[in-house]
């Protein structure tokens, strides 16, 4: 498992190559990338500020990753989440799941994102030309995570 919380941008292809190595038993690679979207009222987002809880955030991501490895027949996975100030259209988060078959990889990838959004201590603040505002927790995100119970 490759778990990383970092300020720097990530390269999905490079992480996927590292995860796959020289394995010959893989039939599926599923990747998800989340990017900074301008959801401010007047489309005037300058940046998103991503705050985290150093130490606990990494542990929470490892716990979520272990749950996915136990629940699905997948070979390996990677989670990278960026922190700090991120501009619109920049990468925020990446999940890569490799497995023999696609169904397990798709499901595990969705589970990882749903759980990450509700369990891992990250907080987003919008910085717009009008000022700064913390993004509110969405009940729909909780419902998405609850369907895996």
């Amino acid at each position: 498992m490759l778990i990383s919380v970092q300020q720097e941008d990530f390269d999905v292809a490079a992480v996927t190559r590292e995860l796959c190595g020289n394995r010959k038993d893989l039939g599926a690679v599923v990747t998800f990338s989340g990017i900074v979207r301008d959801q401010s009222t007047d489309q005037n987002l300058i940046a998103l500020e991503l705050e985290h809880y150093p130490g606990m955030t990494e542990k929470a991501l490892e716990d979520i990753a272990h749950s996915a490895m136990k629940r699905w027949d997948i070979v390996d996975l990677a989670i990278t989440h960026r922190v700090g100030q991120l501009k619109p259209a920049e990468n925020i988060v990446m999940v890569v799941v490799i497995s023999a078959h696609r169904k397990e990889a798709f499901d595990a990838c969705e589970f990882l994102m749903d759980y990450l959004k509700t369990q891992a201590p990250f907080w987003k603040k919008e910085i717009t030309r009008q000022g700064e505002e913390w993004i509110e927790f969405k009940q729909s995100d909780q419902q998405a995570a609850d369907r895996w119970k």
Binding site: Y53, T118, P121
Partner: protein, 84 residues
Amino acid sequence: MANLLYFASLRETLDSDKEQLDLPDNISNISDLKNLLAERGGSWSAAFTSNTSLLVSVNQQMADDQATIQNSDEIAFFPPVTGG
């Protein structure tokens, strides 16, 4: 001493990101600690009284009001998470 941490909007509301606190003998769980912090008044009172969305972790594991605590614990309070 217990290490207390505050994150995100809560950190800004309290104007504090961390502190060391010698837990009095009558403070044995998170609920007791919240009441103690609320007694500071002002924004502390608002943040720790009947704030149902406030989350807490003890030694970097999610916890609840009944979780027992002691000096040497790392206790963090924060709003619901919004990553991803």
